[in-house]
């Protein structure tokens, strides 16, 4: 049985696991396996993982509702912070590798290209969530913490849109993420309705 005490032992394992995608990217870089357009590969790859880990944070609450594995909640923060971490790597790769600090181009992108507007907004909205992720902040903000962290729903929607609006014609992949997100949000809607009834 997982307790808060025994969970502590798993946290370092989880930490390492969540670094594996980045490690694999570094490995591919070292063995020169990033293809003809390495910058594009890095951009796509870090974006993919940011989105995956972000959606993973949304699995916790419906899973707990259904299984009553209440103690897994202690791992959620790490997923959230890693989502933020991968978003930062993704954004850095865009600013440094893709645009090489050409801020006039970057500002143009942020305001003129809807998919970048969506992605950038998601990043901005993640910042307060990352800042308020400490125990102290949770205690201090109490109910407002819960309200604030509901922003993650908007962030997740923006992240999926960011992907969807980027692709040229093949919407299969962003569609998969959209369906997963719809299911995760759907659970919440069902729980909400049940509570009301």
């Amino acid at each position: 049985m997982l307790t808060n005490q025994s969970g502590k032992r798993y946290k370092p394992v989880l930490f390492v696991l969540l670094l594996v995608p980045l490690g694999f990217l570094v490995y591919r870089f070292l063995v020169n396996d990033l293809g003809a357009n390495p910058i594009e590969t890095i951009n796509r790859y870090t974006g993919d993982w940011a989105l995956r880990i972000l959606l993973a944070t949304l699995v916790f609450s419906p899973l707990i509702r259904i299984t009553h594995w209440n103690n897994i909640i202690q791992f959620r923060r790490m997923f959230g912070l890693f989502a933020f971490f991968y978003v930062c790597v993704h954004l850095t790769s865009y600013i440094v590798l893709d645009q090489y600090f050409d801020f006039s181009e970057i500002i143009d992108d942020v305001f003129k290209r809807p998919f970048i507007t969506a992605g950038f907004s998601a990043f901005i909205l993640l910042i307060p969530l990352a800042i308020t992720s400490t125990n102290k902040m949770v205690e201090r903000l109490q109910y407002r913490w819960i309200q604030l962290h509901r922003l993650v729903y908007i962030i997740a929607i923006l992240a999926v849109l960011h992907f969807w609006w980027m692709v040229k014609v093949d919407t299969r992949e962003p569609m998969i993420y959209a369906i997963i997100l719809a299911i995760l949000l759907g659970f919440r809607l069902i729980f909400y309705i049940k509570r009301k009834v």
């Binding site: 293809g35 590798l97 090489y100 992108d109 014609v169």
Partner: protein, 318 residues
């Protein structure tokens, strides 16, 4: 100004092929025909038999139209491709290359011309002297390459079919083979892939039909055995694996324009001042380079082709 003008519309064999080259190639063909011996039906073709892997074309003529830019390595040119018939990921076309059957290959010529008919690839290109054309290739996705194509000018070939005065446009189609081509099982684009040029664009000396790159036959993923190259337009205009050429009076519908009329115009001339609605076209990443470079109007071929569009609003006719 590099524009060559041709006074004579009709070309015959001796105009096109230098006698010594003709003889050299004959020798080569005879040799390779002997090598493949009984395996193929005898052909009067001037073309080395398609399928004899990795034939290096002989006597390729250097062209004054070639750029001096550094070449993109063969590996990158043949592994980073947009060829949706073979899959949507850039690496898919190489992985799935075997699904494109390039032998035998023929091209159907139809529409507003006198010499309509179905032509074997061998007869289609030959007799013509192969040229090496080192061109910049600018993808609409804002990356670019420099590729040493092997091919022939399209104009003289089109003239062989004697287009009529009604022929104002040329439409090209890629092979339709959903049983074999994995990408054609899904309707991401309307199949077969279609492209088109105005007749004067098609006749322009920069426009070529390519059969090879880096002195070798085209890899399947690069549009074997026969593809169009229009270096001043975004890459998707340079249609791959052509099976049909159709002379038309009206502007034809083209695949990407049908898929996204706001995003992909009929002309699709490379133009840094006309952004794609979703991304900037001001700069491009040359494959193999870290910093982006400025995109040039008409992909750097403005001296040669700007005249084709004089008086046109390039923002409207994007």
């Amino acid at each position: 100004m590099l524009l060559k003008t041709r006074k004579q519309m009709d070309l015959n064999e001796s105009d096109i092929t230098d006698q010594s080259i003709y003889k050299e190639r004959r020798k080569f063909i005879t040799k390779s025909a002997t090598l493949t011996a009984m395996s193929m039906a005898p052909s009067l073709a001037m073309w080395p038999n398609i399928g004899a892997a990795d034939i290096n074309f002989k006597n390729i003529i250097k062209s004054e139209f070639s750029t001096k830019d550094e070449l993109t390595p063969y590996d990158a040119v043949s592994s980073y491709n947009n060829f949706y018939e073979l899959g949507l990921d850039k690496g898919d076309p190489k992985r799935n290359a075997k699904h494109l059957k390039v032998k035998p290959w023929s091209v159907l010529v139809s529409g507003e011309c006198e010499e309509t008919g179905e032509y074997d690839l061998e007869d289609f290109i030959s007799p013509a002297k192969l040229e090496e054309r080192i061109y910049r290739l600018r993808c609409v996705e804002a990356w670019s390459m420099v590729v040493p194509w092997v091919g022939v000018e399209l104009g003289p070939i089109l003239k062989k079919f004697k287009p009529t005065s009604k022929a104002k446009f040329v439409e090209f189609k890629t092979i339709l083979d959903p049983d074999n081509l994995p990408g054609q099982s899904r309707a991401v684009l309307e199949w077969p892939y279609r492209e088109g040029l105005r007749i004067d664009e098609a006749m322009h000396p920069l426009t070529i039909l390519a059969v090879g790159l880096y002195g070798k036959e085209l890899p399947n993923q690069n549009g074997a055995p026969l593809r169009l190259i229009v270096p001043w337009k975004y890459g998707f205009k340079s249609i791959k694996s052509i099976v049909s050429i159709n002379f038309l009076e009206e502007q034809p519908a083209t695949s990407w324009n049908v898929a996204g009329p706001r995003e992909y115009g009929f002309y699709s001339n490379v133009n840094p001042d006309v952004d794609h609605p979703r991304w900037s076209q001001k700069r491009e990443r040359r494959i193999g380079e870290f910093l982006k470079r400025e995109t040039l109007l008409f992909n750097g071929y403005a001296d040669e082709v700007a005249g084709l569009y004089s008086g046109m609003d390039l923002k409207k006719n994007f």
